[in-house]
Symmetry: C4
Subunit: 243 residues, 4 copies
């Protein structure tokens, strides 16, 4: 395996452990992957390895073209085909999946996370959608691949950009997020959980509250993302902070 | 006492302390037991010993046949007859009882924890039931034994398998869970608490949300349990992770 | 000051610090006192001392007969007259007052904490009452003493025993609890907060859920309290654990 | 830069870090400033610097008269014009802005935090208001300055004193608080978050509960603030404790 791939394994392993540090993991649910598109691979957590024993060698390399593992030492996460479909459809470099408490509760209620304020708009341009329930056929045959496909179908049906809204809730399952790399996917998983917590409270306070106007949402999303972003220091601040 | 029984005491003591580590204990509520069926005994926490002083010697051995203590150094938990009835009726090797916040609130509302998603289905095949309230006679005479019997009656009345659904809520009291050993019983107590938290939020978001279809529940339960399970590594991963 | 009084100061200081350790303190709200009835005094936290600087010397001795401080080094808590009235009316040896989040929210909603299960019944025999709002005269003249008197009036009006129900919510203010000593008063403040959390969830799940029958409440209260209590070890276990 | 300004930078840096310690920060949201009115400046957190790298040198000095930075090493927080307008309108010495979970949820529901008890009245004399939504023009041109102006407009429209109620919720955005210095602004941000948590629960328990009478609110506010305050020790206790 190349040096680049080794560095990728290290980063993706850290991103998986970061899920735990951010309180997004119950028992051993969850998995994160990260891609090296030039190398044509992504690496993903091995199946059935407890987080407290996780090391970079448990990151299994997968071909982006075929979706097949390039090593046989460890079985990759059973959710690997879901990640694979997301890499094929969306131009991202990292994918995270959790069963974090509030985002999962929204998925279980099949309730989208509405954009009700600037905290949301700083990260996602609009509602986080919920997929339709999967059919019996989709569940019984190639379930994990179909999980990826129903996310992609949701974005197509709703006309959503996967860059504007880098997250989806799979009905009666849980959240998937993506980003430029594994670390950004995990950051977005953490923000989505926080937004779900706030949105739960907002609904309790006033179920009929008006969402902010589009111009406020766009102002905040563009203040942080894209060519006219003006937060942070002139060099190197990247996406590290909103002030 | 045999070496095997000593090892059992150690494991069950650790499982009791694990209740505290997982945040399932308020004050000194809760108790865990574990069985050695070949030896014909189970051991259970002594009554009235604070968790921070708990050692393996506070695990009191009980005869599975008679339900009576085999030692007189410490009084066993007053809930011992409840555990005893569960061991007699169900083919399990460990039992846990907590007053964990959300599972207990469901028991106090006499509200079952519905299976609303794959997090639930990965551990329990369907709804966690609530017992009927106990009668005055059941409470006044042999209360703790009758607590066990009303759990078993609930499973019989509903036609539930204690392997598919290894948990029950005793009305206006709290949750009991069981498993292959004390450690698995505690793991399920922790998962049940998490499911109750999510189900509380789901009900707030949409009280009428549709549960997932049976084929999704069965897919997830079978993906992890039984002969066609395909999560984890090929050897030794056991039940340690879902990915 | 006597050696006994010094020991009392130490114990009451620890009980005050225990409020913080149990997560019942926001900013510097809250205060605990403890009595030496033979010595005719109680000691209470000084006013305006941050918890991280609190030592036994900040515990101010007060005459149970007159309610006046017996030392002038530190001003006693401004809530001292409330504690004083409680010691005069109820046969307790410790009093705690907090603004803990959920118990205070119940006080702000003027909603009693109903006894909905055995966790509650193990500590309190029945509903935790809320006082009536205080009148303008009661607030403007001798406010803190009248706070104590409105608690006592509530128990008289409802025909409650201060031993069966050792807690009250002052309307639009917060909880007071009492016990045999300062430590037990704090333990009950912690349990009350936990019960309020669960009762909040119970109300969300089913606002009309039936409470348990009296025979279940009495069974649990008596299992732990009074001459027929049978939890714990034969000597020395005291109130330390329910199993 | 003067020694006084250096000391101010240190204090404001600590106040920014205190936001994190108090659990008010999600990712890198939030910023605190503090003023030296005699020196004609305030200092504010630099934009885009993660909290774990924050030092006093990242506090950027700003002219209170012009609102312009007096140094060019670091860009000031993009919210600087909001702080500037608050310093111009209100006689305060510190300003804090967070996206803390519950206060932000109230802002997203455009729901004021009502004064329902003495915990609130000890810090704020009455309801914490929500601004009107900002217009498209206000958002598209000089957004951050207009955010400050809409806070000030809210206080003028409602006839509120910025000393009695030292906090506001910007609609669909989040809370701003102020005080005598940066540290007091942060303390009030923490208290506001706690009040929002309790008010959320109060609304769930009884949406129609009566608020306390004005005489109780004034009693508590005046017990702690103003010339007749009687909490704390005779010297030096300042605002450090309520007992």
């Amino acid at each position: 395996m190349s040096l680049l791939a080794e560095a990728l394994r290290e980063r993706v392993c850290r991103a998986n452990l970061d899920l735990v540090a951010r309180g997004l993991v119950m028992e051993t649910f969850g998995n994160v992957s990260g891609a090296d598109r030039d190398g044509g691979i992504f690496v993903i957590k091995a199946s059935g390895v407890p987080y407290d024993q996780l090391t970079a060698e448990h990151m299994v390399p997968i071909s982006i073209e075929t979706g097949l593992p390039l090593e046989t030492r460890f079985r990759p996460s059973s959710d690997t085909p879901t990640h694979h479909e997301i890499y094929r459809a969306f131009s991202c470099g990292g994918v995270a999946h959790t069963h974090s408490e509030y985002a999962t509760a929204f998925a279980q209620a099949r309730t989208p996370v509405l954009c009700m304020g600037t905290t949301h708009a700083d990260y996602f341009r609009g509602t986080i959608p919920v997929t339709r329930p999967m059919t019996s056929e989709e569940v019984q045959t190639d379930y994990e691949r179909n999980t990826g496909l129903v996310i992609i179908e949701t974005f197509e049906t709703l006309g959503l950009s996967a860059e504007d809204v880098a997250a989806a809730l799979v009905a009666n399952h849980g959240p998937f997020t993506w980003g430029r790399d594994a670390s950004e996917a995990v950051e977005r998983a953490a923000v989505l959980e926080y937004l779900a917590r706030m949105e739960r409270t907002r609904r309790l306070l006033d179920p009929d509250a008006s969402p902010p106007e589009d111009y406020l949402v766009n102002k905040h999303f563009n203040r942080k993302h894209g060519k006219d972003a003006y937060y942070g220091q002139k060099r190197g601040a990247g996406r590290s902070s909103l002030t």
